[in-house]
Symmetry: C2
Subunit: 130 residues, 2 copies
């Protein structure tokens, strides 16, 4: 079996991408959703750290390359339709979000308003100035 | 404030959709990913049960309408880019996947193979024959 057969099992989108959920090991917290292409997923497996495809910058994005908030990948799951990945990760620094929060999912629906439901752990200016 | 302002905060895709993660309350298990349009999200909030948009059938899909495996929605979160939703749900029957498994994320990468890492809780023929 070719060593890339596992990559071909994935139902890549027309753009050659797949959405990826990063979930924190232990806490079970859903941290973020990003995208991968084949290269990103291969690199993720090789490095043991999450490498995404930045759709805005159109380039590979080794999560934490600027913030140092890397994600150590413990487990990788594929869903029944083979079009979504779930990564179980250890989140370095306890911050996944570019706003300096633990998780990107910090806006909670209360009645008909989105309220900010999680604190900034570290000021983004401090995170990205290094 | 219009009662629909909260819906306009969302960055809907060009197709008017948003991906939605359903995570189980308590266990923290990521159960599935599906899509919603505006109507689906409004209905979800009104009913307190997950209503998705089926991209294959191009219609609203009240999760559990055939299987009886509804999802009672406890909390709704929106991410920092406002383009992914996270639902915290109680999964009726403990089965979210059409294969009869607890979660749709049952294929685990081991080396360079996807292995089936979760059992079928109930035979799908039994689930959908009712």
């Amino acid at each position: 079996m070719s060593s890339d057969t596992w990559l071909s099992k994935i139902n890549w989108s027309e753009d050659g991408l797949i959405p990826v959920i990063a979930q924190e090991a232990g806490s079970g917290k859903v941290l973020m959703v990003a995208w991968m292409n084949r290269d990103a997923l291969k690199l993720t497996v090789e490095k043991g750290e999450a490498v995404y495809w930045s759709r805005s910058r159109k380039k590979l994005w080794h999560k934490g390359e600027k913030s140092s908030h890397t994600q150590k990948v413990k487990e990788i799951y594929l869903d029944c339709d083979e079009d979504v990945l779930l990564l179980i990760v250890e989140q370095t620094g306890g911050i996944a979000c570019h706003t300096g929060r633990h998780s990107c999912f910090f806006q909670k629906l209360e009645g008909n308003e989105w309220i900010v439901a999680a604190p900034v752990v570290k000021n983004p200016e401090e995170i990205y100035s290094k």
